[in-house]
């Protein structure tokens, strides 16, 4: 078979080329339609998942202090590790729809206040115990009771009561929330036997792989859970996650074939790596964004004219090009982009406008003293350079910014959410409600812009109970407008996930929910 035909065949089998187009091109290359059809059928079969082997992942974001307790997962490696051995009630698929995992069926009362999850029958934990509604109840209790240390505490706080009966787990909420199934897919809420009360760090779950080796900060080894319920995934017999925090070493490991996939490819080497043999570099648009946050309650940021001046004084396009190396998209001063369901793409894009910025700066009556912007190299990759670009573009509008570089160590406890103007990042959430509720609702624990707006709050609460998606979309759009024009958020860019994948891997698909196919790349892919 000649090269072009082979290429076409592969593209068609992967669905990147239509069948009709393939037959047409094959005909042009002098092949009969019947023969082309046979060829195509064979190629499609070849794309079916292959079982067996070992998939190895090299990752940044692991420390020797990591634990297997899902309640305390905060960085990338623990997240991916937990996705390997654990399973939640629900999951979010790449298109943003709810995927049923341990819940087999979800129903709600018409007011979206009471939700019932029917638990999938015959699913087994790694210790042989069957998953029951009681385990689900115990898990949710552990994350929400008064002794909880869970990162999901903010999510499960809105629960008024919970109960388990037979195979049904029922949740009654304080106020309606149409997005509860999404919240149940939060990565902390992994169902553990008896809620993990005996030993939260045991790593026993109902996920596709069992924990075999747990050396935090070094490597995590897994083997397939023989009685796993879902045979559509978990193709490899074994999988291993190696912690390779050094960027150069990670890329070298991929090039040398020691690992099959890596996260966080430096945008600086993106072009070089693209031409390297045997590997592919993927950039996936996600919901994560890099931000500068102003406290709306602290002087001088309590003046909306000054906030507007700063929003107009940042050059978003330049940041995407220079900080992200083009691997991302511009932000619009609210935390939502087209990767979210119900996104309104008619909201006008805010541009860099030094004249308008100077106008608002003057109008704000600021005394001209330098405005202190705090940043650290760990706030987000390139945060110091981004602050410098901001300083320059603001200077062109006559706004004096002073950059204060803080140490990475302790940045999240001493600077972020404490100082009135600092650099930060957000990883994004599966749905708009969750993003807004996490960081922009007046009562949110992480309201890091100190944004208190009654109208915004009331629309947000009302939208949760609104089951008509068109009306809901309009409500989200209104909230976006309020935040964009009055909030304390300067959102210059949404970053892509940039990842390296070996040619030995098949079944890769882009997933905007998180890095490495939302932490499931090694579970969903197979060795070609």
């Amino acid at each position: 078979m000649d090269g072009e035909l082979k290429y076409l065949l592969a593209r068609t089998a992967q669905g990147k080329h239509s069948r009709r187009a393939f037959l047409g091109r094959a005909g042009a290359l002098g092949m009969s339609a019947a023969m082309a059809n046979t060829l195509l059928a064979g190629a499609v079969r070849a794309e079916e998942p292959k079982k067996g082997g070992m998939i190895r992942v090299g990752m940044q974001g692991g420390e020797s202090t990591n634990t297997l307790d899902p309640a305390l997962a905060a960085s990338e490696v623990p997240f991916m590790v937990n996705m390997t051995w654990g399973e939640m009630l629900t999951d979010v698929d790449p298109a943003g729809n709810i995927e049923l995992r341990l819940a087999e069926e979800i129903s709600s009362s018409p007011d979206a206040k009471t939700w019932t999850f029917k638990i999938r029958q015959g699913v087994e934990f790694h210790n042989g115990k069957t998953v029951t509604a009681e385990d689900v109840l115990a898990t949710m209790q552990r994350h929400s009771d008064e002794k909880s240390q869970s990162g999901a505490l903010g999510i499960v706080q809105g629960i008024e009561s919970m109960s388990a009966e037979g195979d049904k787990f029922t949740v009654t909420l304080v106020s309606p929330n149409a997005d509860l199934p999404y919240l149940m897919g939060d990565y902390h809420l992994i169902i553990q036997p008896d809620g993990g009360r005996d030993d939260p760090t045991a790593g026993i779950g109902a996920g596709p792989y069992k924990v075999v080796v747990n050396e935090p900060g070094v490597r995590h080894g897994f083997e397939r859970h023989a009685n796993y319920w879902d045979d559509r995934i978990a193709h490899a017999d074994q999988t291993e996650i190696l912690v390779i925090n050094d960027t150069t070493a990670r890329v070298a490991a991929l090039q040398a074939g020691q690992v099959h996939m890596i996260n966080r490819v430096d945008p600086k080497v993106f072009q070089l790596l693209k031409n390297a043999p045997g590997i592919q570099v993927k950039n996936v648009a996600g919901r994560g964004h890099y931000v500068f946050i102003m406290h709306c309650t602290a002087a001088p940021f309590d003046n909306n004219d000054l906030r507007m001046a700063l929003k107009l004084a940042i050059n978003r396009q330049e940041m995407v090009e220079k900080i992200l190396g083009g691997l991302g998209s511009v932000g619009n001063d609210f935390p939502i982009n087209s990767a979210y369901p119900l996104f309104d793409d008619t909201i006008p894009q805010r541009e860099y406008d030094p004249e308008q910025a100077a106008f608002f700066y003057k109008k704000s009556g600021h005394d001209g003293s330098p405005i202190i912007l705090r940043t650290a190299s760990g706030a987000f990759p390139g945060a110091v350079e981004a602050a410098q670009l901001f300083q320059q573009s603001a200077a062109a509008a006559g706004i004096p910014l002073e950059i204060k570089r803080e140490p990475d160590d302790g940045y999240w406890s001493n600077v972020w959410n404490v100082q009135p103007f600092s650099a930060s990042y957000w990883g994004g959430r599966p749905v708009q409600d969750q993003m807004y509720s996490t960081a922009y609702l007046s009562s949110a624990e992480w309201n890091d812009t100190k944004f208190y707006n009654d109208k915004f709050d009331s629309i947000l609460i009302a939208a949760r109970a609104e089951l008509d998606t068109a009306k809901r979309k309009a409500m989200y759009s209104e909230m976006a407008h309020i935040l964009r024009d009055e909030g304390g958020l300067i959102c210059p860019m949404f970053n892509d996930f940039v990842e390296g994948v070996s040619d030995a891997i098949a079944g890769w698909e882009a997933d905007p929910n998180g890095e490495l196919m939302n932490g499931r790349a090694h579970v969903k892919c197979w060795l070609a």
Binding site: Q149, T248, S413
Partner: protein
Amino acid sequence: MHPILKLVAQRLSLGLLLLLAASALIFIGVELLPGDVAQSILGQSATETALRNLREELGLNEPALTRYFNWLFGALHGDLGTALTNGQDISKAIGERLGNTLFLAFWAALFSVPLAIVLGLIAVRYRNRWPDKLISGITLSTISLPEFVAGYLLMYLFTVEFRIFSPISTIYAGMSLGEKLSAIALPVMVLVLVVLAHMMRMTRAAILNVMQSAYIETAELKGLRPFVIIARHAFPNAIAPVVNVVMLNLAYLVVGVVVVEVVFVYPGMGQYLVDHVTKRDLPVVQACGLIFAAVYIGLNILADVISILANPRLRHPK
């Protein structure tokens, strides 16, 4: 008591006092760092309630002094406790990490120490001629190169261009010795390059110093070959300063190789310590600090004892 035994006993008891002082200093240092372990664990996702609950569970609400003496009491009974961050048993975790660190240090020392001394002898033999200049030039340039640059260069050469070694040096139980050695080949090379110059220069300088002595002239007049003079007559009298530098470098190989560990993803003590300092995990930092201090103190005692044994005047004091 034999004077050397007496000296060792004195030094050891002094060493124990030093360790105690070190543990107090480490404790104060970590306490002074902003933020605490609960905040570090929960990071950006910390809520007030979660923080309070975690602090309660980890016992962080007790006064600092109580916590220090609790820890000290446990440590004196051989119980290093469990890591605050992930509840792992510290003795077990450190045992593995320390084993790895010593493994790497051992092989690096096995190549670098003899090589440095032989190169030093050669440099003296051909003093100020081209072999001396070549050796000095090469070793000085390798020591001037930052470790991570040397690491990346070797990595590029041996793993990407010529696929001889693996870029990841992770070793674990179950690997054969051959596999382990192949895995650590690159970090060993980098470490040898880094420590070579210091020891080589000291050997050269110390021997050159001795070469001015009258008895060397006598040996020359006896017609001995230059290399025999250096190796048999000059080197034994230059051992004391050389041993001191060698011990200093051995200590470095144990406690100072965190950069090399990171570049080659080697699961040693350095990375382990840095991770736990970042998270303010005091018991682990204390344990690592004590081990590092003990390594320094132990190697220094060893260096002193060897210096004394090598010097007859010190060996038989009046």
